[in-house]
Symmetry: C2
Subunit: 325 residues, 2 copies
DNA sequence: CTAGGTGCAAATAATTTGCAGAGGC
DNA sequence: GCCTCTGCAAATTATTTGCACCTAG
């Protein structure tokens, strides 16, 4: 797994000078996976160049945090830890009070709420930290908990991305199938049928890819969830499908529901797709976002045309009514 | 404002001895409003008893954290701060990188999500920390921002509690009025009408109290939100009312929707009511929870009776059908 | 009487700073 | 040549510990 590093030269803060020492420290730091303390980093750096002082490491770390390359995290151990900030721009931590190990998770829903609240308070957020303290499964029960450490986070992230994508496709498929069967307008019906067909195809591709991913790591399916997102289950298409199921929806309304759903899912996938470094998960998200974007555009076009047609009909009818009176 | 202190003797951890020094430190600590550093507390304590050593303050602080009386919070200043944990069991912070001041908020929605995720990960959470770093309105724009510091948090909390209660009552009123007009079964109709009447009365009381609260502090209405909760706007009755508005709902379904709504709002109000120390806000929440509980019971009773009646009817009809054949 | 609490001073641990010298621009 | 970085050692800061003594149960 040869991870591409970000362009270091572009990450230099104002007035910083090039320096081989700094570059070395930055380089060693970037190659690490976990949360390093200043001293951990010092030890690692000294292994490659014994002539570097502790103060330089501290100073470089400060500089990296200022430049936005590193993030300072505090697990209440009495010292700070640092992690590269480009990998997962906003992730959260479980911190075990007993074994002091930490485990990461992402929650799109929590992020969205924090954004909303910060906006309401007119606070210019640069970073959000969520730490859940307590006792981990392992410490509480004894032993056998499938790990979710830094080495495999990426794969688990891809798995979760894929699960979310699949669940969303399923909802979408159900939604468009039902919408097609309920729509009387022939052009609208054709649009929904086309979308249903696309969802079905994409669903097949995703399921194949999901199976491939599982084949790479037999324990993958059992590993704990990393990315939490309630969209597929509670919102997006599921909600739209429920609305259709209740019935009493016009063709135009069905289109609007579809637009709302596609917009929601496009937004979600784009957000995560853009935020992550190159990885299987990122790619899945980006592909997905593009597809949803296409659907969205199609629905909007269709909606405009339908409204236009209906408007014409209504105007004609109104004109006819006036002429009769 | 003479705040009642919690029962200190009940907060003693296993094996702890009574000691006048400890009691003094605990007492001084409990009287404070903000986030104290160990040294701040040391200074305050020495003002009342100059013969207390720094180490004792540190040790007592540790003991208090262990006993759950105090909570350690870290704003990344290189030292820990402590706050009484009984006041707001789980609150979150905005931390300004420029002026280093912090401002609190509560979000029932974020709490619920964290609970859910911790459950999914089988993590025994004891505490959750949410910190939003960035730049505050004051530092960014210049000056005039209505404060929300520790002195008035309580009043703002009461205001927000009241706003949420009022919004929920409004939704409830709308829901029950519509449900009554749609329900054909006379007993069911009477139940909904009775509930609508109660919501209306309670709404009046709440609005009067809200006006009284505003009269105490002319700036109160303009102060930033402290307690964020999307329930009243997005969920609870609003959703039920929308469901009714879409129509096609049977009497029995209307009762079920009502039960779901009351259960949701009862849960929310109980949760906050129980969590807070004595205050206007707590009282509002508890009253509200009790009222919702009553409504909930009434709806459940009504639901059981209706189902019974329908079942009887259906059985009778079925029996009639069989006898004809 | 004894386990645990307390003050003082010294120890520890993480991080910062002063200063003389080295190196990039 | 100037300005910034760097290493070293010393300083600073928050917090903990050793130890002799004290006090509640």
């Amino acid at each position: 797994m040869n991870r591409p590093l970000p362009d270091i030269s572009s990450l230099r803060p104002r007035g910083g000078k090039r320096s081989s020492k700094r570059d070395l420290i930055l380089n060693v730091f970037m190659r690490q996976e976990g949360h390093l303390s200043a001293d951990d980093l010092y030890d690692l750096v000294r292994r490659e160049d014994a002539g570097i002082g502790r103060a330089t490491v501290y100073r470089t770390l400060q500089w990296m945090v200022g430049a936005g390359v590193a993030r300072k995290v505090d697990f209440g151990e009495g010292r700070s830890r640092f992690e590269p900030s480009f990998r997962h721009p906003r992730h959260f931590h479980f911190v075990c009070n007993t074994c002091h190990r930490s485990s990461e998770f992402l929650s799109s829903d929590i992020e969205a709420l924090i954004d909303e609240i910060a906006l309401a308070r007119e606070f210019a957020m640069t970073q959000a930290v969520v730490q859940v303290f307590g006792e981990c499964e392992q410490c509480r029960t004894g032993r056998p908990v499938p790990v979710l450490d830094h080495g495999i986070t990426e794969r688990v992230f891809a798995r979760d991305a894929m699960r979310i994508a699949i669940e969303t496709e399923r909802s979408g498929l159900e939604f468009y199938t039902r919408a097609a069967s309920l729509t009387r307008d022939p052009q609208g019906k054709a649009t929904f049928e086309r979308l249903a067909k696309e969802e079905k195809e994409h669903l097949g591709t995703l399921e194949r890819r999901y199976a491939e991913l599982l084949a790479e790591d037999p324990d993958l399916e059992a590993r704990p969830t990393f990315l939490f997102f309630k969209g597929p289950a509670n919102g997006l298409f599921a909600e739209g499908a429920a609305e259709l199921r209740r019935g009493g929806v016009t063709d135009l309304q069905a289109l609007l529901i579809g637009i709302r759903c596609e917009r929601g899912s496009h937004k979600f996938f784009k957000r995560y797709g853009e935020r992550f470094e190159d990885s299987e998960g990122k790619q899945i998200f980006l592909e997905f976002a593009a597809e949803e974007r296409m659907h969205l555009d199609m629905l909007i076009r269709e909606y405009r045309e339908q409204r236009e047609r209906l408007g014409t009909k209504r105007r004609r009818r109104a004109a006819a009514g006036r002429s009769v009176q």
